[in-house]
Symmetry: C2
Subunit: 436 residues, 2 copies
Amino acid sequence: MSKLKTENYKGTRDFFPEEMKLRTWMFGVMKKIVQTFGYEEYDGPLLESLDIYKAKSGEEIVNRQLYNFTDKGGREVAIRPEMTPTLARMVASKSRELAKPIRWYSIPNLWRYEAPGHGRLREHWQLNVDLFGVTGFQAEVEIVQLACEILFAFGATSKHFKVRFSNRKVLNDFLGKTLGLEESKQQAVAKILDKKNKISVDEFNNLISEQLNKPETDLRLVNNFLNSTYTNLSQIAGIENENSKEIEAFQREMNKLGYGEVVMFDPSIIRGFDYYTGFIFEIFDTSPENKRSLYGGGRYDNLIGLFSNDELSGIGFGLGDVTLENFLRTHNLIPSFKKRTGIFACIQSESCFSEMAKISTKLRRVGLMIEMNLDGNLKLGKQIANAEKKGYEFVLIMGEEELKEQKINLKNLVSGEQKKISIDDLQLVIQSLTKT
Amino acid sequence: MSKLKTENYKGTRDFFPEEMKLRTWMFGVMKKIVQTFGYEEYDGPLLESLDIYKAKSGEEIVNRQLYNFTDKGGREVAIRPEMTPTLARMVASKSRELAKPIRWYSIPNLWRYEAPGHGRLREHWQLNVDLFGVTGFQAEVEIVQLACEILFAFGATSKHFKVRFSNRKVLNDFLGKTLGLEESKQQAVAKILDKKNKISVDEFNNLISEQLNKPETDLRLVNNFLNSTYTNLSQIAGIENENSKEIEAFQREMNKLGYGEVVMFDPSIIRGFDYYTGFIFEIFDTSPENKRSLYGGGRYDNLIGLFSNDELSGIGFGLGDVTLENFLRTHNLIPSFKKRTGIFACIQSESCFSEMAKISTKLRRVGLMIEMNLDGNLKLGKQIANAEKKGYEFVLIMGEEELKEQKINLKNLVSGEQKKISIDDLQLVIQSLTKT
């Protein structure tokens, strides 16, 4: 019979223990940081009704990237391509009873049908962090702080990344009032701004000019806007004072809290998603070979509106595991996961099995990690070779002789050093060895 | 516009933070225990090629329970209904290079289209534990130990559950040699044995008799077999000595290691899956209201054979989260997760925000959990009410006066006690409060 292929489905990953250790470490650092800010973990089902994506996700996702199908009971369902619709549904279902502010995070796997490429897979995991029920700029401060603290916790510094932020309200003021563009042209200009860094200056100027009412004079306004800073933005005619003040207040607060070197106003920040309504930000890798937006987020005022008449303003961001891993690799921030922290236990004959199993059980019950060789007929050299291959630094060796003396050999595989210790002392000795 | 429903898809669960805490706790205990035995975590993609389930999973799963569909590129895929085919594929792909014995675990979510009911959902999570590369009964010993230690770690004792085991080889000897049944009848009898505890004695005897060659005499043989013990099993004609010895050796070793009260030979244990080839076991809840098989597993000699010409014997088990949660609830083994361990920080005016945010950042960076009220205009009473609703025991309160003195109020919401402490001492004070 011909054999089935051992390849995994296109655009996905098999997580063998070594890759899984990396993933567990990445998720662990993310969780630890969001938890110190008081965020609580949630999760939803992998499948949702197709309706909620049709209503909430962008056209590209629904028409081209969605894994949707009809279940055996005739329901139209889809594998989640993003977590936000599930989040909105869940928050809406309990929006009144949940204690405010709502601080939630999740690390779901998400699916999009796309051509796999650098940083783009069909299945990826994404940290989602969201804060609901605070309308002031202090929520923006917390969310951006959190986004930075995660990267700091991985060992990154302000040299490795920058946060660029803007505000949809300011952008709308500029497009609508300063430039006097009608809605469809506003969208077209926003799209061109969004790809500003990917095209040449000439191309950018040409594309923009096509959309402007008075290209000769308005192009200068566009460049003024793009070169504005948080202190002089308010001088641009058309931009509401209240909105430019929000940008200034945010930047000043971030400076005060010590994030001045990392965070900067950048009027060209747009973010593609339709649901952002105010503050928006993106985090950029500063390394020349990976110079791109790592992740970002922003404020959305009416996320739960599809499900509920209640109003609840939210702000959040998403950070994908593939993107993060690339970033950490680029900057050499991934430790080695080869070494095992526990002990591998060898037995020199079958008759030693019971005693070694008893000792192991006792040690495991106090939280120590003991992996046992189970085959007493396997040569000791082979057992030790297995332990080394698995990444252990220490092995226990029990033979008939030791069994009689109630002692056991402890061998350091790196130094080769070996000593006989009493079984009664074993727990303390191993605790001191495996403490990190 | 009419609102979308906030209900989740049938047969699934929304994990709000409280439910998520329970899940995290359950998974955490499971992980801790399997890790002390040296097992390493792996994971595979949620979608696999439909082929591997057609080849590996039972007919009921493939024809009636599978979530399968054609992807946008024309590939036939399915959401995993069980982890074993993915495990087999992954192990087969690296069977030679992986250090033996291979000890792996995973807690995937699995999907089956079924009518939701007690303990049966469309999406559930399942701990999968597998050990490859050891053919001796010591592997059985370790796997059953592990299955017991997990329940012990949750606070269960030998009063709450029992492990019943048997061996496919012994069953095959009995059906083929003792009873002299042809293969199709062997299967029919096995199925009847499998439901022995769900039907009456008369019904059982009638169903069995229909399949036997000489019902008058053979029914007694069946009852002899069902009443046999690990010490007298070898006396049944037809059962190979080698096979009854395996049962005896396993039980004696479990007795030696202190599991004698929990583990017992039960010839009626069958387990439905086709791939078991030797030892099989099931864990039963002993409570009258939940008297059923909780989980189980066994040995499979040729799991990777579909993918590879290599041979690698394995043994493993699966433990579902819904089943486990029911068991823990039945025996009152679930702690309360309402209390939050960190601190909620209140501010009495907007001007206190920056200082409180600075203090919080410092404390979070040493691992403490500080959730902040962000709105300085919210009344203090409302802030404290929010903290209480969120489950906090302690709040920090900063006002203008404290800000000047560089002090802060720490209030115990349970006792009502409040004291002013120096900001410099805050870290040590909070560390002593939140240490558990």
